[in-house]
């Protein structure tokens, strides 16, 4: 059987998804399941000029970058025209990254004209109905290399990918960024970090961490196979969500000292009750530096 044809196209982008995927340790074994028709950095069977002027093969289309209907030309051709031409032809469309999926950071320049390919934030765009049956959303700024390889391998193996209402694979986005965070114990006991640059403390209470309500498996499938934002002491900025980027990203929005946004699916009453209980204890280990406690 002939391998499926893979075409990677870019719209309004920083190329971050391209470079993120190039970090994948098994990159070439994953790509060996495909005929690469065209890719922004890797060799393919067709030049970009061919993609523009001819009708090149395309079974799996990866889209990178935010979408605009008019005003962005490559080689004299509207990018939107090229994207739609191959989207119609493709058997599967993967929107790689938050830009291609929801609009992302570049949407903020021109919110009424820039969007994702099939979603405008979380609303269905006019293209949704035409492509919904073959659409897989992989938000993230950038896309995680292993999330993309999961989808490519599932497709190459002829397996059905379970997806949610925004077409995100549930096996990747059923988790929150909070799951697997090495600071979980501090979250359980409501101990906040005193400052940046400390291994102790949870970043949800003051530093702006959105991990408890952001979907994504960043702390299950690590970045660069080794770490994640929260493991490196950086708050999660919610980059997989349609609302990315929000404002005041290094500060938790609070109401009367309580984070304004609750962990995913947790009723405020439940959160407050639990907080009341945990905060009533003073636990010595949490007021000691992690590596000093048993000394």
């Amino acid at each position: 059987m002939e391998k499926p044809h893979l075409l990677w196209l870019q719209s309004i982008t920083c190329n971050g998804n391209t470079h993120s995927f190039l970090n994948h340790p098994d990159l070439f074994s994953i790509l060996s399941h495909y005929n690469i028709v065209h890719h922004p950095a890797l060799d393919g069977s067709h030049s970009f000029d061919d993609v523009l002027k001819d009708d090149v093969p395309c079974d799996v289309l990866i889209l990178e970058g935010s979408f605009i209907e008019k005003g962005f030309l490559k080689g004299g051709v509207e990018v939107s025209f090229i994207l739609e031409k191959y989207a119609k032809k493709a058997k599967y469309i993967i929107t790689a990254g938050t830009c291609a999926t929801f609009g992302g950071v570049f949407k903020q320049k021109d919110p009424s004209n820039i969007s994702g390919f099939c979603f405008d934030l979380e609303e269905k765009s006019i293209r949704y109905d035409a492509y919904a049956s073959k659409l897989i959303s992989l938000p993230g700024c950038p896309v995680h290399p292993k999330w993309l390889s999961y989808v490519l391998l599932m497709l190459a193996n002829g397996k059905q990918i379970p997806i949610d209402n925004l077409h995100r694979p549930t096996e990747l986005f059923g988790y929150t960024v909070h799951n697997g965070c090495t600071r979980n114990e501090y979250f359980e006991w409501k101990i906040d970090a005193d400052n940046y640059g400390l291994k102790e403390g949870c970043l949800f209470y003051a530093q702006g961490c959105q991990g408890p309500y952001t979907r994504g498996s960043c702390n299950k499938i690590l970045w660069n196979d080794i770490s994640s934002k929260t493991r490196a002491g950086t708050p999660c900025f919610g980059c997989t969500e349609a609302s990315f980027p929000q404002t005041s990203l290094f500060q938790t929005k609070t109401n009367m000292g309580i984070p304004a946004k609750m962990p995913l699916g947790i009723p405020k009453r439940a959160y407050l009750s639990l907080t009341g209980v945990t905060k009533s204890f003073k636990i010595k280990r949490f007021s000691t530096r992690l590596l000093e406690y048993d000394k």
Partner: protein, 433 residues
């Protein structure tokens, strides 16, 4: 004889560019460089919290995002200092920042060597090898960005540098892992890129000794030399470096005369027919990037090559690959001397200034990157980003043609000219932020 105009779409750079060549009497007389889409990052930042720039500006560029983060944090720190609140970073925070930046530069240069320069040169010379250069590029780039991510959480698009230091609090476990990844990268450089021990490579001072360099770098130098391309691609022979860094102090070099610089004399201007802005220093054009750092930083082998070949394609290509060796060596030293006892972040989290103006400068892979932020009532009212590619790829001024245009001028064919163009390590996304 009539002028002939030819339009060419260039791919396999960072993004795409369109070059409009004007030929006169069989030679390139002028080139207009056009880039795609203006994304408006500077405008997007207006009205946001000052620190949001640490998350937004890395999204200017997928390949040099870390340099944007560091420029952004330095702009805020400089703003605090200008407002009378100087922030003293610990040497630990400084060293970690420098280490992660070094990793990003190595990643960039290696991708450029293996995914742009070698395959493009081979195809131009019609001597395409069957080698999978991309697997070499991604092996080394993913190894070194993994070392970066130990401290920064991830690459691309980390925001781990905050005013006052860094967010990570590494242990020796982290440092050991990073060290072994740097060692692995050095081993690759020694066995595959140069076929020479790193210290032996770094001791090379004279052009005559360059024939000892083997591996893929040796092959590249040989290909350039044997095809008679060593002396083409010369430009104005003026260089500038703004960011004091591990590779070079700041300064400018006109031919070989070095002088001090001040970023206040940098001026941006709009250009006709492209969304990229041009940039000049005291009304003059300068080349930025590894060759500029090699010249201003007085790196012996770069200076000796320059003595013989001036600012030709060969010197430019050499200077960039050479930085990989310097950076690997430096990265190793930084880790060895890292003092984990110091604080990661020295700024009191409650110390948030509401009004300030600051400039942050970093030597990114392609040259000096400048961020300027103006903050009122805690919010950004103005943000300016000047990227390295704007220096090298501007069209020029009334007196002279731009750096890359000048380098392509006189070439007899488009293939050669576009190869010269690529020696500047072109990034379209940075140019059209």
């Amino acid at each position: 004889m009539k002028s002939l105009k030819i339009k060419q779409l260039i791919e396999k750079i960072e993004g795409e560019a369109e070059l409009d060549f004007t030929f006169h009497e069989g030679k390139i007389e002028d080139v207009k460089i056009n880039f795609g889409f203006y994304r408006g990052i500077e405008e997007i930042l207006q009205g946001k919290d000052a620190r949001d720039a640490l998350v937004i500006t890395p999204r200017v560029c997928g390949i040099c995002n870390h340099a944007h983060l560091l420029s952004a944090v330095r702009a805020i720190e400089n703003g605090y200092e200008n407002a009378g609140h100087k922030i003293e970073l610990t040497s630990k925070a400084k060293d970690i920042r420098e280490f992660t930046l070094a990793c990003e530069l190595i990643q960039n240069h290696i991708k450029w060597l293996y995914m742009t320069i070698l395959p493009q040169l081979e195809s131009y010379l019609d001597s395409k090898s069957e080698e999978n250069y991309a697997i070499k590029a991604t092996y080394l780039s993913s190894t070194i960005t993994k070392a970066l991510a130990i401290f920064a959480g991830q690459w691309p698009h980390s925001s781990y540098a905050v005013p006052g230091g860094v967010t990570c609090d590494p242990t020796h476990l982290d440092v050991m892992q990073a060290q072994s990844l740097v060692d692995e990268s050095i081993k690759f450089f020694e066995q595959v890129v140069t076929e020479l021990p790193l210290d032996e490579y770094l001791n090379i001072e004279f052009c005559a000794d360059l024939h000892h360099v083997g591996g893929d770098f040796g092959k590249l130098l040989h290909l350039i030399g044997s095809s008679g391309m060593s002396e083409i691609g010369r430009s104005h022979d003026r260089f500038i470096v703004f960011g004091d860094c591990m590779l070079s102090p700041s300064g400018k070099s006109i031919v070989t005369k070095i002088a001090n610089v001040d970023s206040k004399y940098v001026k941006e201007s709009a250009q006709k027919g492209t969304v990229a802005k041009a940039v000049m220093y005291k009304e003059r054009l300068y080349e930025v990037g590894p060759l500029a750092r090699g010249m201003v930083g007085k790196r012996t082998i770069v200076k000796n090559l320059h003595k013989r070949y001036k600012d030709s394609l060969l010197t430019r290509v050499f200077a960039r690959v050479h930085e990989v060796a310097t950076l690997l060596d430096h990265a190793k030293t930084l880790l060895k001397n890292l003092n984990l006892e110091e604080s990661s972040c020295t700024l009191d989290p409650h110390m948030l200034l509401q009004d300030f103006e600051g400039t942050g400068i970093v030597e990114a892979a392609r040259g000096s990157l400048i961020h300027k932020t103006t903050v009122k009532d805690g919010l950004i009212v103005n943000y300016e980003i000047i990227t390295p590619t704007q220096w090298n790829l501007s069209h020029g001024n009334d007196d002279e043609q731009g750096i890359a245009v000048e380098a392509m001028k006189g070439s007899k064919n488009i293939e050669e000219a576009t190869f010269i163009f690529r020696t500047f390590d072109v990034c379209s996304v940075c140019t059209t932020q």
